[in-house]
Symmetry: C2
Subunit: 343 residues, 2 copies
């Protein structure tokens, strides 16, 4: 039972993201740079990466946003590998590794933004990967660094560690119970923020939230990550307890997750919005042990694959809105075919 | 193809009802009768029926409404074997035959109301059964009959033939297209009415309607039945054509019937109202050939079995509203398990 509970609690975590902001000492920040300077930054960083005498550097490939089909750029946004703003930056260059979990945005808000995205709760692992890339670049480049302040960044909110660590959590029950507002207020006092699925300014879709550290100055990366881990564990435990109560209280919760499954298994047209609502219920049902035949991690992969630009990217052609809804319904139906109520 | 179309059109008909109103010459109408007179009428009619030298009379059994559990009376209403008003008439007596398709209400609005309810479009067959019982009673009893007017009834709208013939039809597409109002207006000019599923004053549930003759004076039973048959065939054809267009026009209709099926196959709680909406869609899907694994006639049986009092009657005990919704969901889920989209 204790084992099950632990697993169920961890299921609440969807993914982990580490982002390190770095700048080169010998250039102005990107918003003040000339086109030539931007190109020079791209050259310096890519040279540093590709010439590195370590395997990690060899697995990357560089693409300029301007050279990508728009669907591909939007697909990278949906996979959280680049920011929505960066997708609109023609002279931005993204370095991606083969695993699809690491990206480096060049000339976004800062010269260098190293990003690692891993499934589940994996702060230590993600931090380790980010640090390896950071060290590798640090060997060859001269970072803008101040002994007292730490890493210098364009926006003062990133000054110091340049680190933003975040865990995406699925909080369906707390959302239904309208507990996210007070949770957010409490976390803000601890220097953490709670945001919707696509980061700042976007609404929570599928009842998924990013919990991230806000403080970058006056503490170490390790301290920031440790306090985030503690907070996320508490939030996940809160969700798990609330979920247990809701499923024990009445058959309505079981009915709801079963119905969501039924619709996903039978719908022939499925909008992105409705999909997110229903798949959130199905994920909750799997976490609660009310449904079986798929892991919450499988659901998270399905969610990523069913996003609009990701569908277009996979098919390699444009679709009308209805064609896309049909494509999504077909894809989702096949993916959830073997899920069944646990009875 | 012509064959298929014919079948699909006929599927629109849910059930057929014949009702004959008769009164005995030597008693006042029920609303002016004493308790003794009512008892005398019951005695006369049951004696006539049970003493009849024909098998049909022997298959009936009599029950006084006052002697029935309320759930049983409501169950008979749901099965269209007695009227809602009659279920509230303690001294009313109902004679039912073993087949569950024939009933005789004694001391409802008239002394005798012979009712035959058959699945599908079966006006001739139902009329024949009603006539056999009518003849059998006529042999032994003295009906209130006027050579010029015909059978005398308490309400002048039944005077003449005393016949109400009706066909229950399922008109989901015409309902969605808001065509029932104009259909009803057109039929009223032909002396027909269109009503919701439980007759006068009740709303259409599950997009099912009774089309019935209104005129009882100045035409024969046969004429009334023939003109009803013609009208019903036209309405069914109209629905079938509209349905064909809707399913050909876009995948939305297919999506809708699949979703309805998904919910019925997965819901754990199902209100009567939601069930009627969803099962109407599933029935439409079966009629359109979009779903398979069950006949529209099976659906009609399921509808009858999933009505609230019928559930209580079957279980033989009282249930809370939520227990009933759970019972309905379980029953329906098992019944539609083998239905699948036709692809």
């Amino acid at each position: 039972m204790a084992e099950t509970k632990k697993t169920q609690m961890l299921d609440t975590a969807v993914s982990t993201r580490i982002r390190l902001a770095r700048n080169l000492a010998n250039y102005p920040f990107p918003h003040r740079m000339t086109a030539e300077q931007k190109e020079a930054v791209v050259r310096e960083v890519t040279d540093a990466l590709f010439s590195a005498n370590k395997t990690i550097g060899q697995t990357f490939h560089a693409t300029k946003i301007a050279d990508m089909p728009q669907a591909e750029a939007l697909y990278l946004v949906e996979q959280h590998l680049i920011s929505p703003e960066f997708a609109e930056t023609p002279d931005g260059v993204v370095l991606r590794d083969d695993s699809g979990t690491v990206s480096i945005m060049l000339n976004e808000e800062d010269h260098i933004r190293i990003q690692v995205v891993l499934p589940g709760a994996a702060l230590d692992e993600a931090m380790e990967t980010a640090n390896r890339i950071d060290d590798l670049l640090d060997e060859k480049l001269r970072y803008a660094f101040d002994e007292r302040l730490g890493y210098l960044t364009q926006c003062p909110t990133n000054l110091g560690t340049g680190l933003r660590a975040s865990v995406m959590v699925h909080l369906p029950v707390l959302t239904d119970q309208r507990a996210i507002g007070s949770l957010s207020a409490a976390l803000s006092k601890l220097g953490m923020t709670v945001r919707g699925i696509y980061g700042e300014g976007s609404e929570a879709r599928g009842k998924m939230y990013q919990i991230s550290n806000q403080v970058t100055l006056g503490l170490s990366e390790q301290e920031a990550v440790e306090s985030l881990k503690t907070v996320v564990a508490q939030v996940m435990e809160q969700e798990a307890q609330a979920r247990e109560k809701v499923f024990a209280a009445s058959p309505a919760a079981f009915d709801r997750v079963c119905r969501a499954l039924g619709t996903l298994q039978y719908a022939r047209l499925l909008s992105g919005e409705e999909f997110m609502e229903l798949v959130s219920d199905v994920r909750m049902g799997l976490c609660a042990g009310a449904l079986e035949g798929m892991t919450p991690g499988d659901v998270d992969q399905l969610i990523a694959q069913a996003q609009p630009a990701t569908i277009l990217h996979r098919l390699g052609r444009n679709l009308s809105a209805q064609e896309r809804d049909r494509e999504r319904a077909d894809f989702v139906r096949a993916a959830v075919r073997s899920v069944q109520p646990a009875e």
